[in-house]
């Protein structure tokens, strides 16, 4: 077992206070341990962690381009195999790099079956370039390229189902987790790394700057995403859902109200139909994954 330390992603990086992605990096490196090589795509994390000549990474780390982390990792894995080396290859990429621009490289690498772990820190938009929508941006979120306006309620589409796409590639281990549940995150990343072949972990990582909330609210908001059913923590082994985080669900409104990106749903006038549509997304998630804890009926 690799030695565990808590400082492989070191302090002193340039992330915003309350950055969910920075917390994800700290937890993922802790789970991966020293005997690993990290590959980053272009994005917030790459920029805030490696302004030359400083680096926050105490594990070997490489960044090549925005779209090619999975291909770079393929090459590293092949080289390690040829050299008889045992380090684990871990990718850390944002949702834009994963859901959009890197999709071809990811599909190719998963189909070829390289032994690596692909971590997507999902903050649901292009944060590094100033909060533009990605294929992971949720329905009705206002971003700089899907702004709410007189004729718009924000992003018109739901999140792409990336875990299902990668499970369909035959990935033996696919999981979703959240920075609000560090024990779950650590366990899933460890499991992903220990699983031979390509594995995928998608981490919900709220962005205070992009979503519009105070930095100290990051964990609370990540928790609310789970508690409303808008984010589901689950595990898929060989394509079958094996473990789901169950909750006593709260109305989606409690999550939406905390963030400026959904403010147009409440001000200047409340948009009941849109809130109902988002509630329907959460209801569908709940039904699909069976997340609802049924409470006994209250005694009169």
């Amino acid at each position: 077992m690799a030695e565990k330390t808590c400082d492989l992603f070191d302090c002193g990086h340039r992330a915003c206070g309350g950055c969910g992605a920075a917390l994800a990096a700290r937890l993922v490196t802790k789970a991966a341990g020293k005997e690993s090589i990290f590959v980053s795509s272009t994005g917030c994390m790459e920029v805030f962690s490696t302004p030359y000549p400083e680096t926050a990474w105490k594990v070997p780390w490489i960044h090549s381009l925005f779209e090619n982390a999975a291909a770079v990792a393929s090459g590293i894995e092949a080289a390690l195999k040829k050299q008889g080396r045992k380090e684990k290859v871990v990718i850390m990429a944002g949702d834009g790099a994963t859901f959009d621009i890197g999709m071809i490289c990811i599909s190719g690498a998963f189909e070829r079956g390289h032994d690596f772990t692909y971590i997507c820190y999902d903050n649901e938009a292009y944060m590094n370039t100033g909060i533009q929508r990605s294929g992971s941006t949720p329905y009705d979120a206002s971003t700089t390229t899907s702004p709410a306006g007189k004729y718009s309620f924000g992003n018109k589409r739901q999140k792409k189902d990336m875990p299902a796409i990668l499970a369909a590639h035959g990935a033996p281990y696919v999981a979703t987790t959240s920075i609000a549940y560090p024990a779950d995150l650590l366990q899933k990343v460890e499991k992903a790394i220990a699983t031979p072949g390509p594995s995928y972990v998608q981490i919900h990582a709220p962005c205070c700057t992009g979503w519009g909330f105070e930095g100290e609210q990051t964990i609370a908001i990540a928790k609310l995403a789970i508690e409303t059913g808008l984010w589901v923590n689950y595990e898929m082994i060989d394509g079958k859902v094996t473990k789901v985080k169950k909750v006593v669900r709260k109305p989606v409104e409690e999550y939406l109200k905390t963030q400026k990106r959904f403010r147009h749903l409440f001000k200047p006038t409340r948009q009941d139909a849109e809130i109902a549509a988002i509630q329907a997304i959460a209801d569908k998630n709940a039904e699909k994954f069976g997340i609802d804890i049924k409470l006994p009926p209250k005694k009169e």
Binding site: T50, V59, W61, I62, H63, S74, G75, A78, A79, G108
Partner: protein, 384 residues
């Protein structure tokens, strides 16, 4: 041992003997025979390498970036559209100082789609930081792969390199080639020993971002490495000559140039045609010579200026064009001759596989004697 073989096969054999540990490539005409042959070598145990069959060229070169950074000798091959899909990775690999070797079976760029030869593809990436070697024949194409590894991996250089040869004209042509043995190549090319690599025992960060306080110096260092490559090529080329009898120490070569009035400057397989045309013109008493450019990056400006100093006129043949400007070679040659009064005339010719024959070369020499305006040569006027 001399063997009559296809260019692609001879190149694949040379690459095999260089012992790349990771090969990553994607099929594209006219390069495909090389990577097919390498796949066969791996499948039959003649080459102990990881062969990654990627989903496109961008990933082909990206996988080489990862493997090279992890400390393995890497190889890829492509051409034309495939090279353009790699363009972003090309700049990146050079910036990270990864000595990847890539064969380019030179081919025209679409649109219109053309699978035939010119040199627009690699020329379009002349600014990417890669060393660029151009072969006249299949022997040279084969040998230059060994030279390229030796130069690129030298710690004073650490830059990737294209080995360019004309698609179909060389890649698919059978010629006698002196095939080296594993023993020969092992003696010439040491094991890959990068100065840095991704290693858990000594963690470093590759590919960081640089603010305006740092960026300029990175580019300067790359340019310095390109310039140092002239000496490293001279040394490695001389060593090649001492071992195998073919000396590649010069970045440019003259052919019957010493007493020439008219010099033709060219690059790639066209040099063979030019040499034959020169022999015939010489027999008719015309003093014509060739300056062949073998290395386009680093560009041998001073060497060219010196070698052309005595001629009365220069004709530069470009199988490429920077549209709205001129052929890449004529611009560089004029720059090299800046301050001299030697007239230089540029010819854009042979694009998209248009054949260039001895009689065309003779006509170009006549045109050059008449005046120095640059021109497209061989246009079909009825189509314009």
């Amino acid at each position: 041992m001399m063997e009559i073989t296809e260019g692609s096969h001879a190149i694949a054999e040379a690459v095999r003997l260089c012992r790349p540990q990771v090969i990553s490539a994607y099929p594209i005409t006219p390069q495909t025979h090389i990577v097919e042959a390498l796949a066969d070598f791996v499948a039959n145990g003649q080459l102990d390498a990881e062969y990654i069959t990627v989903e496109n060229e961008l990933s082909a070169l990206s996988a080489c970036v990862g493997a090279s950074a992890a400390g393995s000798r890497t190889y890829s091959a492509t051409t034309s559209q495939g090279l353009m899909l790699m363009a972003e990775v090309c700049f990146n690999a050079a910036g990270m100082r990864l000595p990847i070797i890539m064969s380019i079976a030179n081919r025209a760029m679409g649109a219109p789609l053309s699978i035939w030869n010119d040199q627009q593809d690699s020329i379009a990436l002349r600014d990417s930081g890669w060393l660029q070697f151009y072969a006249e024949d299949n022997q040279e194409a084969t040998d230059l792969h060994l030279l390229a590894y030796k130069v690129a991996e030298d710690h004073a250089i650490q830059l990737p390199a294209f080995v360019c040869f004309d698609g179909f004209i060389l890649s698919h042509t059978y010629e006698p080639v002196d095939m080296l043995t594993q023993q020969d190549v092992d003696k010439y090319l040491p094991k890959f020993n990068p100065s840095e690599r991704l290693d858990a025992a000594d963690p470093i960060s590759f590919g960081m971002y640089a603010t305006p306080e740092y960026y300029l110096e990175f580019r300067y260092e790359m340019d310095q490495a390109q310039k140092r490559a002239k000496d490293v090529i001279a040394k490695a080329g001389k060593e090649f000559g001492a071992m195998f009898g073919r000396d590649y120490s010069a970045l440019i070569e003259g052919y019957r140039l010493e007493d020439a009035d008219t010099a033709i400057v060219a690059m790639g397989s066209i040099c063979g045609t030019v040499k034959d045309a020169i022999d015939e013109m010489r027999a008719d008493g015309k003093k014509v010579g060739l300056l062949k450019i073998r290395v386009f990056r680093p560009f041998p400006s001073e060497e060219i200026a010196k070698m052309l100093s005595h001629v009365k006129r220069v004709a530069v043949l470009d199988k490429n064009i920077s549209l709205g400007a001129k052929g890449a070679t004529v611009m560089e040659v004029r720059d090299a001759l800046y301050g001299s009064t030697i007239p230089v005339k540029g010819y854009v010719l042979g694009l998209g596989g248009r054949d260039v024959r001895k009689r065309n070369i003779k006509e170009i020499v006549e045109l050059t004697e008449k005046g120095p305006e640059d021109m497209f040569y061989g246009l079909r006027k009825e189509l314009i």
